[in-house]
């Protein structure tokens, strides 16, 4: 049973506050915020998503800088509450088009309408965007999409190139569009997050792809949809260790370790023709999550090197090579490397003619940061940095620096080779031909090279 639900801004202001059972004191939002803000005196550790203060359990999730919080006094299932908070954020986003502090403040009455129906006396009633439609009467006030943070990885599509309309993440499920008629369209996003650890000699120590397929449908009349994947896709590695690479390398088949599906997904013909069928509900939802540990080609190779160059000096060389096709471009790349504590200065040297690259030495946490706007497939970039130390390193220099980590986004690329072969919409009439968007993106989750 949930006792209260509230949303706080980054500064701790209540944006909405709903008390369902009146069994937790009124000041709970303040108590919560102080606790989260000052979890440990040194501010080093983040507050965990669930904690207990004086018999009240506080759950929170952070979404675009907002804190979605629930309180309860009973010993409830934590994953249920955290899942619910995440879902509430998503439902709100479905209705407001954009979820951020501004839109929430402008539409808080609508949000109250939603919260009233989602939870009654602490029990979850429904989180289906579609079902909620009939209970919501406020028109959303859609805020300007110009400067907003994205919700989740799908936010990458916001950049709105020609192939990827930016509207998909900012369209409210209820607002009427200026043109009057709503455009019939459906978006399928395949988002993959890569975790890789390279050993100091460049071998892959661990690798994993966490993928999710998200769908957002603006189709009228809830037609059935069929989603077909590569023929060589299979789920579950028959026995053996999850990290047993030999079984899959070379065969080219895509083998998912495991996956889970949205409630609406029917798997009746999956074994036969690798097809999912579903009737998509309104709003954004996850069709499927999957996990894959079979060997794949990492999009980037990182070559870090640190060498002593005199008593109080050292040189760092980092090479990054993009190992994907030249038709694809990665963007917003950031390479970071912690340097020895006694580093006092770092001077950088980029390759001649480098464009859109930034370098920085963060004094506070002794970290080198190298930013690249884009990297075209097949290219290689190098950074050299000369370090000055305040004390001698005693030959421990490699132990005191690194590992190198990297973040990036590669649109229209997926490391797992999972493909959507086609997206079929059950037709209603001949003229009915909605827009279909299938989009891929790959991001770094934990992309690390040790020294």
């Amino acid at each position: 049973m949930i006792s209260q639900l509230f949303v706080l801004s980054q500064r701790g202001d209540n944006i909405v506050f709903r008390d369902y059972r009146g069994e937790v004191q009124k000041g709970s939002a303040e108590i919560f915020f102080r606790k989260v803000k000052f979890w440990k005196e040194d501010g080093q550790e983040e507050a965990p998503p669930v904690f207990n203060v004086d018999g009240v359990n506080y759950f929170h999730v952070k979404v675009v800088g907002l804190l979605f919080v629930a309180t309860t006094r009973v010993n409830i299932a934590p994953s249920l509450v955290l899942e619910l908070l995440q879902r509430i954020a998503r439902v709100i986003k479905d209705y407001l088009g954009i979820l951020n502090e501004d839109s929430l403040r402008k539409n808080f009455v609508l949000v109250y309408e939603l919260l009233d129906e989602v939870i009654d006396f602490g029990y979850v009633q429904t989180t289906s965007t579609e079902m909620l439609k009939s209970y919501v009467f406020n028109e959303p006030i859609v805020v300007d999409a110009a400067r907003l943070q994205s919700l989740g990885p799908a936010g990458i599509f916001m950049q709105g190139t020609k192939r990827m309309p930016g509207t998909a993440v900012t369209k409210s499920v209820v607002a009427t569009e200026p043109g009057g008629r709503r455009r019939e369209e459906i978006f399928v996003d395949i988002i993959e997050k890569i975790s890789i650890t390279f050993s100091s000699s460049g071998y892959i120590l661990t690798s994993e792809i966490d993928g999710t397929i998200q769908m957002k449908s603006y189709l009228t009349g809830n037609p059935e949809i069929r989603l077909a994947f590569n023929d060589d896709l299979s789920i579950g590695r028959g026995g053996g260790s999850a990290y047993d690479y030999r079984s899959s390398s070379g065969s080219g088949a895509v083998i998912l370790d495991d996956c889970n599906f949205h409630q609406s997904v029917r798997l009746d013909s999956f074994d036969m023709d690798k097809t999912l069928s579903l009737i998509p509900p309104d709003g954004e939802f996850t069709v499927m999550n999957y996990r894959l540990t079979q060997e794949f080609k990492p999009p980037f190779r990182i070559n870090p090197l640190i060498e002593e160059a005199g008593a109080l000096k050292a040189e760092v060389i980092i090479k990054v090579r993009a190992e994907f096709s030249s038709s694809i471009t990665a963007n917003t790349i950031m390479v970071m490397m912690p340097l020895p504590k006694y580093t006092t200065r770092a001077s950088f040297e980029l390759e001649p003619g480098a464009l859109g690259q930034t370098t920085d030495f963060k004094e506070a946490n002794k970290r080198l940061e190298w930013g690249l706007k884009k990297i075209v497939g097949g290219s290689e970039h190098t950074l050299r940095a000369k370090l000055t130390f305040s004390q001698e390193s005693h030959g421990n220099i490699t132990k005191e620096s690194g590992p190198v980590s990297m973040t990036f986004t590669i649109p229209m690329y997926n490391a797992s080779k999972l493909q959507v072969k086609y997206l079929q919409i059950a037709k209603k009439s001949g003229t009915y031909n909605p827009y279909r968007w299938v989009r891929y993106v790959t991001q770094a989750n934990s992309y690390v090279a040790r020294i």
């Binding site: 010993n75 989180t127 495991d258």
Partner: protein, 1337 residues
């Protein structure tokens, strides 16, 4: 620790300050209420939105309740919903007005639109007003039968809401059985789900009182019900599925095939994208298969992949929740997950709470095949930038080493850590190497070589230093430099802050001495001398112990200190298996995330007290260590088999080496009772010959410590013939059943000595003690002052059982026992046995406490009830009263850094410091507020100085201790005491008094009590009157009237008479505890004995009277005070006025005013009374009188004292005469503002009427008012802004003129905020030639 709450956050633009806006809203709402003009709904929407946004940010908008209700007559559904939301929020505080809403809600409940019916019904049930329940039953009844499923879902929840407002109404209307019926027949799954939730809640709460309800609750788990729900599960929403699965997890199938049916049915739920569904399903699987080893293991295999997928999909928060569950499973069955170890590698960007879980999992899954890789990975983290994680990683490596058999490679790694030369890495590694050596002594050679190279100067952390010293002592034979390193450490004894390190140093040097006597002799002498002078009690005691041991017999000493050791096979686990099982039973709940069973973090009200129910399962059996408590066999044995790798470890930890480090062969564990504290245990274990020296052990210890304690009283007379079975076992359900069945055969009360009471603050000790007497505890609970225990015992060689319920009230020092027995005839004998065991515990407790308490303050202080005591009045009063004269030394000390404090003091002129004009108290007190550390340094300096000058006068020591007490520095006071003793100065009563003061002021009552006992037992320093007063005053401050009275009686009994100080403490204590009669009695007694009351006593008596709300008595008392020319204090005036405003009449107050005026009381007091009168008039809506009183007050040159007064006085909201009220409000506000109040409060400056303005202008012109000049400009500003709000530019310009006239050079700052149009308007009306906007600045 989080900083204190900011009482007022600076208002951000989006968060208006409130009051003014609310009254604005109110009037706007009122205007709209009746209007039918087109577009009115839109304006209403805007206003409603504003109201709700205020409500959200926490501004109290309950005052517009009436208006909101009036506006709600609308067809606009958006408006309706907002209105419902509002009403639901404020109905509880406005029960009368809530009645207004009933009508329209009831009407809406019959609306055609099901949406509106549902909404109205939900709001109706959300009002939470008890006297409206009669209006709920009808609409709920028809709601449950509504044809719309939406209305029905709402109505079901409504029933539950009704149950919470008035359970009897709900049950009487037969709603539960209607819900039960609906649960089986309704077509809509959400209705079914809601019925299930509602019935579970209702029947669980009814079950405690009604047999039927508890049967019904059982019925929910019946096969038919569970199958009915399971068969429909896919129709339910994902959330309702969780609900059903939670229920199924409690279902106990009658035959094995059912288990597989259910699992097959739920198999695909494991692939759900919603983690909550997956975890709920997993719980079902785990619970169902508990008794089927093979299948249970297959379940682990099956759920692995879905769990891992959930961990890596979803938000970090969701994955944390799942990971916590995975962690639990990994810890239970590590071998199942051993091939998945790579999933538990940390990612560099994960939050530390995730990393910590993963490190533990890595440690657990390490086995022969993966250890190398795991350790390699962990070593990478050791160099991590995140230092806490780096430390954890090193510890993890160590733990793996301790659980493996082949540790070659790991030892090398650990030794490499030592060479890394990062201080924290070295520190952690040292501790690990020590543990490793205890388990694998064969590695000593390799380790010693490396450890020997570490300079002890580079090791600072106490734990690491202690480890290093232990190794120096243990391996001093092989470490060439050991005696010399130890010697240099002993030379720096005084700089060593950690007692743990000093203890180890003592032991190490002893060990070293036995191995290499000539080289160590000198060091040993120095160490013992230093140890004997140590202010830390444990260190002192151990030094004394070693000293006497050596004196007694050197070879015995060697045997004690340096016995042959066996390697430790398994280290004790921190969490008992019982607790782990409990957490596993509560799978898919917060228990897993917190790693605690629910009874440790859930409120009582959310689980029954001392309930034996399986579901709640909160039997709190001695939590400390499993070895001393009979483990309750809760988990099926088969499960144990499956989880062999964990249980193996637990089983191998037998009682013989539980908690002890060495398994000393000659030591008989039963010689010392289990109740012995850890210190005692440790002492006893490390000296087997002593404890082997027959039964004199307790005497020996007494003698040893020279405390001269009385010998324990002989055990209860006539040793009972009854013998109990020491290995009795009884499971909770049998206990519960027996308890129900058996009649009470004996019920007794037994009073407990204060020592026993104090010891009960740690009930585990009692449990262990009772167990030593073959009386076992099955459940315990409660919080101070009430503790409740259930014990059981069995007769030896017979199955006759005794059950005891023992309720101990620590504040009344009474124990109530109810004894039930299978064989009634034996209950008397058993009772005697029980009581003798209990009284032994008390005696035990006092001995133990003396041994323990003096310096292990840390543990004791953490007890909640002592935390509260911060300021002890008696001590603080002494310096508060002294005037503080600015002191050059203070200024200097404040500037100096800590390191230079002592030298700064050295350079001061000693004679000045010793002169009587100089007050150390004042200095320390001022210093303390800015830097507590400096006070410590100053005090330390004084101590050093005194020792240097060889002061032998105990008063000086006493004073110094007193000062330590004042700054709540107990350890330092102790140090002063030991230094004094070491210096050969005999303690006196006053010295002890100071020490007791110090204990009490730092909140350590227990230590204070043991000191008192020492005093009582002494010759030269018996407790004196002051000693008793200190306790009386402490308990008085704590509001513990019983304890206070006990001490008072003790004082009288000791032959002291009560003095003024005693009376003061007693009376204030009684008043605080609400025992006014006692206070009265004492007051009379005091007067009888001829002691004149002082001001605090009078204040307290007065407070007592006021709290009793008896105006007559107060009046009488007041007059008696005034008769003797007593000046009443501001506090008393405050109370007086408060009382009168609450219960008196206006006439009373007028009379009071006259009395006080005649008695020439100060103006501050009078103005309070004035304000009270105004408030009173305002309350009864006599506006003319308000006006008159304000005028009268102003005329007397008095004013409001605080904005709060103004605020209260202007509160005339309910007035019928609205305009008039407003005007007066403004006068009040204006005068308040003029004189004192807060000029920045912009809520004050809205909409005064012109009449009020005129008044304000007039007040502003009262020439005689001395306050005026100073703040004139600001007051003009306030007035001007008020006018500006009205856009009355003519008045505005007048105001400017006048203000220019009075203070031409400073134009109001306010001008800056005017817009240019406004400026022009002003200029047009103004005679002033030109008002320049910028001029004001």
């Amino acid at each position: 620790m989080a900083p204190p709450v900011q009482s007022q956050r600076s208002p951000s633009p989006s968060q208006p300050s409130g009051k003014g806006e609310v009254s604005d809203l109110k009037s706007q709402l009122r205007q709209l209420a009746g209007s039918r003009a087109p577009g009115v709904d839109d304006s209403k929407r805007d206003l409603f939105k504003k109201v709700i946004s205020y409500m959200t940010i926490g501004i109290d908008v309950s005052s517009v309740f009436g208006e909101m209700v009036m506006c709600s007559a609308t067809a606009d559904i958006v408006l309706k919903k907002m209105c419902y939301l509002y009403v639901g929020n404020y109905a509880k505080v406005n029960p009368d007005l809530a009645l207004l809403t009933i009508n329209f809600l009831q009407r809406d409940c019959k609306d055609e639109d099901p949406m509106i019916r549902g909404l109205a019904l939900r709001s109706l049930c959300s009002l939470r007003v008890a006297n409206l329940v009669e209006y709920l039953v009808g609409p709920l009844g028809s709601g449950l039968k509504d044809k719309s499923s939406y209305v029905r879902t709402v109505a079901v929840m409504g029933v539950l809401k009704l149950y919470h407002i008035s359970a009897s109404t709900c049950v009487d209307a037969d709603f539960p059985s209607i819900l039960k019926n609906m649960m089986f027949n309704d077509s809509e799954t959400q209705v079914v789900a809601n019925c299930l939730s509602a019935l579970q809640e209702i029947w669980s709460s009814e079950a405690s009182t009604s047999e039927e309800a508890s049967r019904e609750r059982e019925g929910l788990l019946s096969k038919t019900n569970v199958y009915y729900l399971l068969n429909r599960i896919k129709e339910f929403s994902e959330w309702a599925q969780c609900l059903v699965l939670e229920l199924v997890a409690k279902y106990v199938p009658s035959e094995g095939s059912e288990i597989f049916d259910i699992m097959n049915l739920l198999e695909d739920r494991l692939q759900h994208a919603n983690g909550a569904v997956v975890l709920a399903t997993i719980k079902v699987f785990l619970q169902l298969t508990l008794s089927m080893t093979d299948v249970h293991q297959q379940v682990y295999e099956r759920i692995k992949a879905p769990l891992l997928t959930l961990v890596s999909s979803g938000s970090p928060e969701q994955s944390y929740a799942v990971l916590s569950h995975l962690h639990l499973l990994v810890m239970r069955a590590p071998f199942i997950f051993s091939s998945d170890y790579k999933h538990f590698y940390c990612q560099y960007n994960e939050p530390s709470y995730v990393k910590k879980l993963k490190l533990e999992m890595l440690t657990a899954v390490a086995n022969e095949s993966n250890t190398y890789e795991i350790v390699t990975e962990l070593c990478e983290y050791a160099a991590n930038v995140d230092i806490p994680i780096a430390r954890e990683s090193i510890r993890a490596v160590g733990k793996i080493a301790l659980q493996q058999y082949d540790v070659n490679a790991i030892v090398d790694r650990l030794l490499q850590f030592l060479e890394m030369e990062k201080d924290y890495v070295t520190a952690e590694a040292l501790v690990l190497v020590k543990d490793l050596l205890r388990k694998y002594p064969q590695w000593s050679h390799d380790c010693i070589a490396v450890v020997g190279n570490i300079s002890s100067k580079n090791v600072q952390e106490p734990k690491a230093k202690a480890a290093l010293i232990w190794m120096l002592g243990e391996y001093s034979k092989d470490m060439h430099d050991a005696p010399y390193i130890l010697e240099s450490l002993i030379e720096n004894w005084d700089e060593e802050l950690s007692a743990e390190v000093r203890l180890h140093l003592l032991t190490a040097v002893m060990k070293c001495f036995f191995k290499r006597p000539p080289e160590t002799q000198k060091a040993l002498g120095a160490a013992l001398a230093a140890g004997l002078a140590d202010f830390h009690q444990d260190v002192h005691d151990r030094a004394l112990f070693y000293y006497r041991l050596l004196q007694y017999n050197v070879s015995v000493a060697e045997h004690v200190v340096n016995p042959p050791k066996q390697a430790v096979s398994v280290f004790a686990d921190t969490q008992s298996s019982e607790i782990k099982d409990r957490i596993f039973d509560e799978f898919n709940s917060l228990s897993v995330v917190y790693q605690k069973p629910s009874y440790m973090f859930t409120d009582k009200e959310h689980r029954g007290p001392l309930e034996f129910s399986d579901e709640v399962g909160n039997i709190s059996i001695g939590i400390e260590s499993a070895g001393t408590v009979v483990p309750v066999q809760r988990v099926d044995a088969n499960d144990k088999d499956l989880l062999l790798s964990t249980s193996e470890k637990e089983e191998s930890r037998g009682p013989s080496n539980n908690g002890s480090v060495y398994s000393a062969p000659s030591y008989d564990a039963s010689a010392v009772t289990a109740a012995a504290s850890q210190t005692l245990l440790e002492l006893a274990i490390s000296n087997p010959p002593v404890s082997g020296l027959a039964s004199q052990s307790s005497l020996a210890i007494d003698d040893l410590l020279g405390l001269g304690l009385p010998v324990e009283p002989a055990p209860a007379p006539s040793p009972p013939t009854l013998k109990l079975n020491s290995k009795a076992a009884l499971d909770p359900s049998t206990f519960q059943q027996k308890w129900r069945q058996l009649p009470i055969s004996l019920s007794q009360e037994h009073s407990i000595s204060p020592e026993g009471v104090a010891a009960l603050t740690a009930p585990q000790a009692l449990l262990r003690h009772m167990q030593g007497h073959s009386i076992h505890c099955i459940a315990s609970g409660g919080q101070s002052p009430n503790f409740k225990f259930f014990f059981f015992a069995q007769k030896a060689e017979e199955s006759s059982t005794f059950l005891v319920e023992c309720i101990i009230n620590t504040s009344s020092a009474k124990a109530q026992m109810k004894i039930k027995a299978d064989d009634q005839s034996l209950s008397g004998a058993f009772s005697a046995l029980f009581q003798s065991a209990l009284s032994k515990f008390e005696n035990m407790a006092s001995v133990r406490r003396v041994l323990l308490s003096i310096s292990t303050t840390k543990g004791l202080i953490s007890m909640p009830q002592f935390l509260l005591i911060r300021d002890i009045m008696t001590i603080q009063r002494s310096f508060c009263e002294k005037a503080f004269n600015p002191n050059p030394l203070l200024a200097r000390l404040l500037q100096e850094p800590n390191s230079r404090i002592k030298s700064a003091l050295d350079s001061e002129d000693m004679s000045a410091l010793k002169s009587s004009g100089f007050s150390w108290e004042a200095l320390l007190n001022s210093l303390r507020s800015s830097s507590p550390q400096k006070t410590q340094l100053v005090l330390e300096w004084r101590l050093e100085k005194m020792l240097e000058e060889n002061v032998r006068d105990h008063d000086s020591f006493s004073e110094l201790m007193h000062l330590c007490g004042m700054v709540q520095n107990l350890p330092l006071a102790m140090r002063v005491f030991t230094s004094m003793e070491g210096h050969g100065v005999r303690p006196t009563s006053s010295v002890f008094n100071s020490l007791i003061h110090a204990c009490l002021s730092s909140g350590n009552v227990i230590t204070a009590q043991s000191l008192f006992e020492i005093m009582e037992g002494s010759e030269g320093y018996k407790p004196n009157s002051e000693t008793y007063d200190a306790f009386i005053s402490t308990f008085s401050n704590l509001g513990n009237a019983d304890a206070m009275q006990a001490w008072y009686s003790a004082k009288i009994a000791a032959g002291f008479s009560a003095d003024l100080q005693t009376y003061e403490s007693l009376i204030s204590g009684f008043v605080k505890a609400g025992k006014y009669d006692c206070a009265d009695k004492l007051y009379e007694e005091m007067k009888m004995s001829g002691v004149m009351p002082n001001i605090p006593i009078l204040d307290n008596m007065f407070e007592g009277l006021c709290k009793r709300r008896s105006v007559g008595q107060v009046k009488e008392f007041l007059n008696s005070l005034l008769d003797v020319g007593y000046e009443i204090s501001a506090l008393m005036a405050e109370r007086l006025v408060g009382l009168y405003v609450e219960v008196g009449t206006v006439e009373d107050m007028e009379e009071l005013l006259m009395t006080l005026m005649n008695a020439d009381q100060v103006s501050e007091i009078l103005s309070r009374v004035h304000c009270g009168i105004i408030r009173k008039y305002a309350m009864v809506d006599r506006l003319d009188d308000v006006e008159y009183s304000v005028g009268r007050m102003l005329k007397q040159g008095l004013s409001f004292n605080s904005p709060d007064d103004v605020e209260k006085s202007r509160f005339i909201r309910k007035s019928r005469h609205c305009d008039k009220a407003n005007e007066i409000n403004w006068i009040v506000i204006a005068s308040g503002i003029m004189f004192k109040a807060n000029y920045n409060d912009h809520s004050f400056i809205r909409v005064p009427s012109s009449v009020a303005l005129a008044q304000m202008l007039q007040i502003a012109h009262v020439p005689s008012n001395p306050h005026m000049k100073r703040d004139q400009v600001i007051s003009w500003t306030v007035i001007a802004s008020g006018i500006k709000f009205k856009a009355n530019y003519y008045d505005l310009s007048c105001v400017f003129e006048r203000s220019i006239g009075t203070n031409a050079c400073k134009l109001p700052m306010y001008l800056q905020t005017l817009t240019s149009t406004e400026m022009k308007a002003c200029e047009r009306h103004s005679n002033a030639p030109h008002i320049n906007r910028d001029e004001g600045i």
